[in-house]
Symmetry: D2
Subunit: 201 residues, 4 copies
């Protein structure tokens, strides 16, 4: 019965690549569909992993990761209470099974969490290096950190940290434009570019 | 026992976002990781769907789709025998459960397949409109066709077809560059741009 | 004396690459600096040429072309009276010597103009093929037409025309993002992509 | 007579936007047409300025700048003797009037040159900060430095220098792809992305 009910609600939700407009959020906050799935690809998730999502925003990364991590655990860390409300609603809407929402500031609130196999950093609240220090201490060898930067400052800062710490680093620049399906004309509208940095310990 | 054996083999294979170099292929053939996952996102797969992969190449899209379609059926259509050998090896390596390899030319060989919910067109062998005509007859309302174009000719031709046939069309341009993780310098190397066209019936 | 006066006014104006904000215009109208100079490069101007600028907008292309065409003639065709006012002000401000502003609809108003060596099409008012037919009749062999398209529709339509008419066609996609010099953070903001089509007769 | 002779040679050379293949060079060395003209735009040249071109490569920037600087002086600094030979041939071919070729390593060889109004840095031979220190001492207030970076390392390093030195900095990312005019299909081929950094003193 429960399963049928869920099916009814989720009938139009894909297993992957959820449209931006399905998420409860504000427009600037959400990691856009195309960028989100490249980010998930870079995380190289496996079914039983532990993922920290630091600066989870509206939770779109968590929600999609939950569908890829059938036996894993995901911790969504968010200090902004408005955003946490979005996350709560999205976890409910998309029926996640393995996501736990953590209220608090990173890196302070990370102490009580289990060690991560994977870490996604969507926001750092101005404390990037502190967060990276904590993550570096807790992440297993072979673990991965993925960070989305929209400013040169964040990209440079993260790249410098990982260079010093001896990680293997890849940077992918993503320039996407899309047309609106509902328009008569196919006008290309650009997303602002995103730099997806992946660091392997 | 079988499960353990598989785990051993697949220990380093992510559930999603398989690195290009893990596939048996030749370099030009494979749909690159970042483009592949955006393509999969645009397909909006659900667990029990039927997917046709026309011009499957080395099978990278099939393999990843298999992991997202736990109860679905995937038909990989490829007319080139060398490429079919790549597909066979990749289906084995990545332990797919729902992919069937079809030898032959599209659209001729499509007749015997069950109706699709989703169609991906990676190559058309110069018979794009014929293929689209067949797909159009067989695809259910609400079904989706995703096509990756690297030439303006293919993009234009597909866009014209779908416009005439009354589909809702979105075009996403994907410009990606990445640095090599093993280099001392972070030199950005560009992929050629890809146009991902999504048509909804 | 006149020269001194001009120098005083124009002291900060470069010979090339005029900043967007120096033009009298509205934001959506102006061809952005980076796109403008690539467009000018594609025109392959020489000193004594005749250039038609069809859909001249705020006149930014004309103004820069004037500086590159010391003995040439430039006809700025614009049907929108508000835009023509912008052009007038910009021609004055940037002290052009060879630009003549033409009021009217293309292709109707093209009849009285001298044959062009180069044609730039920034806007077509929905009459692209009619304009191209007229241009094709008037352009000398070896002449060049450059067209900036922001929609797939215009790109496709122009490409089809030039293919049928036997022109040699190049398409350049331009994806630009820039940071704001006055901000504390270097946040990259994307321009919408532009397709610069160059056709050589 | 001289003028006629020049006209004959240069009959097909535009005043601006010289095609890459017109330059004597090797392929990897040349600043590609589209990137070159955006670079020139960022330099904001005026007719009587002094420009240093550090790491001049095949001299394509110098040659085009010469056409924009009718009364200026341009110093092309290049330490590689093979590249200097390219520059010599290009200065002759394109009939420049204001370019002087300087043999030597920057910053050592900069001492004897007149103070610059504009500086372009195409290459630094691993001595970027030393060069920037010298340039910073010699450049007038309001002067501009433009640097093309293809690696994150150079971009980061230059950005850090200019941040510390109090310059106003803009970074433009340029992602270009173009089709081949001589092909039957319009296949888009990407250039590797370039970061054009502009610093104003």
């Amino acid at each position: 019965l429960i399963r049928e009910y869920e099916d009814e609600i989720q009938g139009h939700i894909p297993t992957f690549g959820i449209p931006d407009e399905e998420f409860v959020s504000i427009k600037q906050l959400i990691t856009k569909e195309e960028v989100r799935v490249v980010t998930l690809a870079k995380l190289k998730l496996r079914h039983d992993m532990c993922l920290w999502d630091i600066g989870a925003g509206s939770g779109s990364i968590c929600v999609e990761a939950d569908h890829l991590l059938s036996h894993g655990r995901i911790f969504a860390i968010e200090r902004n209470s408005e955003y946490r409300q979005f996350i709560k609603e999205n976890l409910l809407k998309f029926n996640t099974r393995n996501v736990m929402l953590i209220e608090g500031d990173a890196p302070d609130c990370l102490e009580e969490l289990p060690d991560p196999d994977r870490v996604f950093i969507g926001g750092s609240g101005g404390r990037l290096w502190e967060i990276l220090d904590t993550v570096d201490q807790r992440l297993a060898v072979g673990g991965r950190i993925v960070l989305n930067a929209s400013t040169l400052d964040t990209l440079t800062s993260a790249n410098e940290y990982f260079g010093n710490a001896g990680y293997e680093v890849e940077v992918v620049t993503v320039n996407i434009a899309r047309t609106c399906p509902h328009s008569n004309y196919k006008l290309f509208e650009a997303y602002d570019p995103v730099y997806i940095l992946t660091a392997v310990k």
